[in-house]
């Protein structure tokens, strides 16, 4: 087979191979840094209330939200970062002030929040988390629970300087 005179078959095969390769993610843009920043998720900022207080737990608890906060590039854990959490739970709607609370990451960049059981709302059982303190770029996450019966949910942040 020669490529001097591409026929329909070779062109289609070539184009198909290119599309497959691109869709596979085999071609990735060159990255200067190692750990890529977490992009905000669609709908992550819905029913966000700025300035939620730092609390020991949201309501009565029983459900555990956990996660990590790291720096983009070197992936270093970021201690003392304020993460805000809210969800539709057995104790209130996403919009209710008592459904919102914030916590700080520990020395290992890990955070956890005891909160009421998240229940399905707007079609999915999901939580909302925000980093919005300003030192790094703001990120809103909206993780979805695999099952509405889960009693924990994890969300990880990789932040880039503002």
């Amino acid at each position: 087979m020669t490529f001097d005179h591409p026929n329909r078959r070779t062109v289609l095969a070539g184009a198909g191979a290119m599309i497959l390769t691109a869709a596979n993610g085999l071609i990735v843009p060159a990255r200067a840094q190692g750990v890529a920043p977490t992009p905000s998720m669609r709908g992550g900022a819905n029913n966000y209330r700025p300035g939620a207080p730092i609390v020991e737990s949201i309501g009565g608890g029983g459900f555990l939200m956990t996660g990590t906060v790291r720096r983009a590039g070197d992936g270093a854990p970021l201690p003392n970062q304020r993460i805000q959490i809210w969800a539709h739970t057995t104790e209130g709607h996403e919009r209710d002030p008592q459904s919102h609370g914030a916590t700080l990451t520990d020395a290992n960049g890990q955070f956890q929040m005891d909160m009421p059981q998240i229940v399905p709302a707007f079609g999915q059982a999901h939580g909302h988390l925000a980093y919005d303190s300003g030192d790094f770029q703001t990120v809103f996450l909206r993780p979805v629970m695999a099952s509405a019966r889960d009693t924990s949910l994890q969300a990880d942040f990789v932040l880039q300087p503002a």
Binding site: R42, T90, E91, V119, F122
Partner: protein, 202 residues
């Protein structure tokens, strides 16, 4: 089977198919953690889905005891009811969580089912508009437009409903969706709608 028994079985089955899912949704444990507006919005969605089973049966005159004339008359009333159900559904969700509904209406939602729901909503409005304009349309254009639009409504609504983790029970939801699809397909086939899509011979 005498026609009387057959008729009773059909009406009984229909009542169960329509009432069952509403009863399941109305007693869902999720309701405990929802406000009245959100509960009403969800139930309006279930009732709207029920209408999608009733409408083709009425349009095709398949319900025993109702003549074709009366069937089509009721079809129009249920059609208006479906419109109201869609408006209560979307309006109630809007009051419950405006940003989620804005995301859905602008097709920027995190959830794919909301996009299917919004397509179903616009197709419902369009099908109702075609029905309202019926006196000004040729019979062929009316049937072509209304049939094509309601086919979109039923298909997108079923996808919308299937993807949602909500108050409807899994069994009752799938049963109602399957019946709505089957009834729509049967009536469109009985009316030989596909012939309208063929080019007319000169």
């Amino acid at each position: 089977m005498t026609p009387r028994i057959k008729s009773a079985l059909l009406w009984g089955g229909l009542a169960a198919a329509l009432g069952g899912p509403v009863a399941v949704a109305a007693t869902s444990p999720l309701l405990e953690w929802r406000q009245p507006v959100y509960i009403a919005a969800g139930l309006a969605g279930v009732i709207g889905l029920s209408c999608l089973l009733l409408q083709p049966l009425l349009a095709g005159g398949l319900l025993p005891g109702l003549g074709m004339r009366r069937s089509r008359y009721v079809h129009r009333f249920i059609g208006v009811g479906l419109l109201v159900a869609v408006l209560v559904h979307v309006g109630g969700l809007w009051i419950t969580s405006p940003p989620d509904v804005v995301d859905a209406l602008t097709f920027t939602s995190a959830t794919s089912f909301s996009a299917w729901g919004v397509i179903a909503m616009w197709a419902t409005f369009a099908a109702a508009l075609v029905a309202a304009l019926r006196p000004r349309l040729s019979p062929r254009r009316f049937r072509l437009g209304h049939s094509a639009l309601v086919a979109v409504v039923v298909l997108t609504t079923v996808v919308h409903a299937a993807l949602i983790d909500g108050t409807m029970g899994t069994v009752s939801k799938w049963m109602l969706c399957a019946l709505a699809l089957a009834a729509t397909a049967k009536v469109l086939a009985d009316l030989r709608v596909w012939r309208l899509f063929m080019r007319r011979r000169a």
